[in-house]
């Protein structure tokens, strides 16, 4: 045991491990807050859909920067800018637009919500993969794709600036959530009543969509685009097994998510497992634990 503590101490003396821990916990907190609303609004799959959109956008930005570099023999400023910002200038707006479009397709549209998400999700995954394959930037295409999808290394390459950016976004998400908490509840529970009683339901839906997109783009660094859904839905579903009021579900979901992220990251360091899947495994274990407890208490 003390040996393992030593290993941990050794690792945490590196700043990048500390950064990874901080960013991991913040993202876990934000995604779990939002997860409750998304699951209840029947948008569990939006995390999946949007993360694939973000993956597609990332592919486009990679291809763009590589081909611009080739065309200008490495002197294109825009290509350098794209590389410096990790392609965020393209990924963030594209994901935002997709989020707004997806969350707006609630009722009166030709393609229903779930079908629209499935379509966009699979579509952008396919196009993204194709683009990366055709215009590959490096020899190891499979490795690149794998690390984008499962987020194996990027969390360990965070800079101090990115940690601050992440912290700032987390503060914004938290503040929005606290200030608009009652309205978010009302819009989630009953949109038509909220509208009728003078709450600007469409505005709050838009707000939820924007925050969702922000969190997903952030979370891509942590768990990769495939596992974001898990980070959004598992804590919320676990909390809903046991708790009966909206407030307690949200608080419990946040606590579960932060603990699982912390444990997941530590375990992944000790046993050198991939961080993203370790965190999600912890979430799955908690979910089954809570389900069991709820089944037992219900019987009594």
């Amino acid at each position: 045991m003390s040996e393992q503590l030593e290993i941990l101490q050794h690792y945490f003396s590196y700043p990048f491990v500390k950064y990874a821990m901080i960013v991991g916990l913040l993202i876990a907190l934000c995604s779990s807050l939002l997860g409750v609303t998304l699951v209840l609004k029947r948008f569990s799959f939006i995390g999946d859909g949007l993360s694939h959109v973000a993956f597609g956008a990332m592919a486009v930005s990679t291809v763009l920067s590589v081909s611009l570099k080739r065309a200008s023999h490495g002197e294109s400023l825009f290509a350098k800018f794209l590389e410096d910002t990790n392609g965020m200038v393209i990924i963030l707006p594209v994901t935002l637009i997709a989020a707004v479009l997806l969350l707006r397709t609630g009722q009166n549209t030709k393609i229903k919500g779930d079908a629209a998400i499935a379509m966009i999700s699979v579509g952008s995954l396919a196009v993204g993969y194709m683009l990366i394959n055709v215009y590959s930037a490096s020899a190891n295409v499979a490795g690149d794709v794998c690390s984008t999808l499962f987020g194996s290394t990027s969390i360990l390459t965070l800079t101090e600036g990115e940690v601050w950016l992440c912290a700032a976004l987390a503060v914004v998400v938290l503040a929005v959530f606290v200030i608009f908490y009652n309205r978010i509840f009302s819009v989630t529970f009953d949109e038509s009543f909220a509208k009728a009683s003078g709450v600007k339901a469409n505005g709050y839906n838009l707000l939820i969509a924007i925050i969702t997109a922000l969190i997903i783009v952030l979370a891509m660094n942590l768990v990769g685009s495939l596992l974001i859904s898990a980070l959004i839905i598992f804590p919320a579903l676990s909390a809903m097994r046991l708790f009966k009021s909206f407030l307690s579900v949200i608080i419990c979901s946040a606590v579960i998510s932060v603990i699982c992220a912390g444990v997941g990251i530590i375990v992944s360091i000790l046993f050198s497992t991939p961080a993203g899947s370790t965190i999600v495994s912890a979430d799955i274990i908690v979910f089954f634990g809570f389900s069991a407890v709820s089944a037992i208490t219900r019987r009594n």
């Binding site: 609004k41 009652n182 038509s192 009543f193 009728a196 709450v199 708790f243 009966k244 009021s245």
Partner: protein, 239 residues
């Protein structure tokens, strides 16, 4: 008895296509208006117009005493709500949100109002219970309390008894009638002609394309339209 809402020669529809034309009726305070009509006759569009969510295509809706949209609304239950983890209190309180500008948190008067309405509707003891564990009738009471928190003078109920068992239906109708006796104006959209005839003071019957009847319940029962509707509906229910 002051006039609260007057609907003058309204045309209702969406995306430029008229669904119903020539809607004329008035609602005075203390009325119990029942709106009847088949599916697709424009009932839900009329609800949206009354709530101020959608403009009428032509004609106008005049408001006296209360401002436009100052109606407590009881929408039809949605799928999302069935397994929603929320306490009764949280739901009733959310009725207070539209009031008095933007406040991030509930004020003291909101809490008192919620307490008062919950006591009035006999759900104060359910306050901490989870909404999804309540019976259908109790759930409707909770939503009714929320509507009362939003606006205390007029209630607009959209098929409130759908999915309830006969006993719970009856209880809810009695509760609504007692609220009406207490001075609250009720506008109820319904399929249930028998309840309309039993409880309402006025009836508005919308057919496809145009208004078929508006007047007091007594006149409706004696009209040919009312007679035939009561007979056919009654026959269908007996099957």
């Amino acid at each position: 008895m002051g006039k609260q809402i007057e609907c003058k020669n309204c045309t209702l529809g969406y995306e430029g296509v008229a669904v119903t034309e020539g809607i004329n009726f008035t609602v005075s305070s203390g009325d119990y208006l029942c709106i009847l009509g088949e599916n697709g006759s424009g009932k839900s569009t009329l609800i949206k117009a009354l709530l101020g969510l959608k403009p009428v295509m032509s004609g106008e809706i005049e408001w006296a005493e209360s401002k436009q949209g100052e109606i407590g609304y009881l929408p039809q239950q949605t799928l999302v709500q069935r397994d929603f983890p929320a306490s009764v209190r949280e739901i009733v309180m959310s009725g207070c949100l539209g009031k008095g500008g933007f406040h991030p948190f509930y004020r003291k008067e909101d809490k008192e109002l919620a307490d008062k309405t919950m006591t009035q509707l006999g759900i104060k003891d359910l306050e901490k219970r989870c909404y999804r564990e309540l019976s259908g009738g109790q759930q409707q009471r909770v939503l009714l309390a929320r509507a009362l928190c939003a606006a205390g003078k007029i209630l607009l109920l959209d098929e409130p008894v759908t999915g309830l068992d006969p006993k719970a239906q009856n209880d809810l109708y009695e509760l609504i009638a007692s609220l009406n006796k207490g001075g609250i104006t009720i506008i109820m959209v319904s399929h249930d002609i028998h309840a309309a005839v039993r409880y309402a003071s006025h009836v508005l019957h919308i057919g496809s394309k145009k208004q078929l009847f508006f007047g007091t319940k007594e006149k409706y029962v004696n009209s040919r339209l009312g007679q035939s509707f009561i007979l056919t509906e009654g026959g269908e229910e007996n099957e």
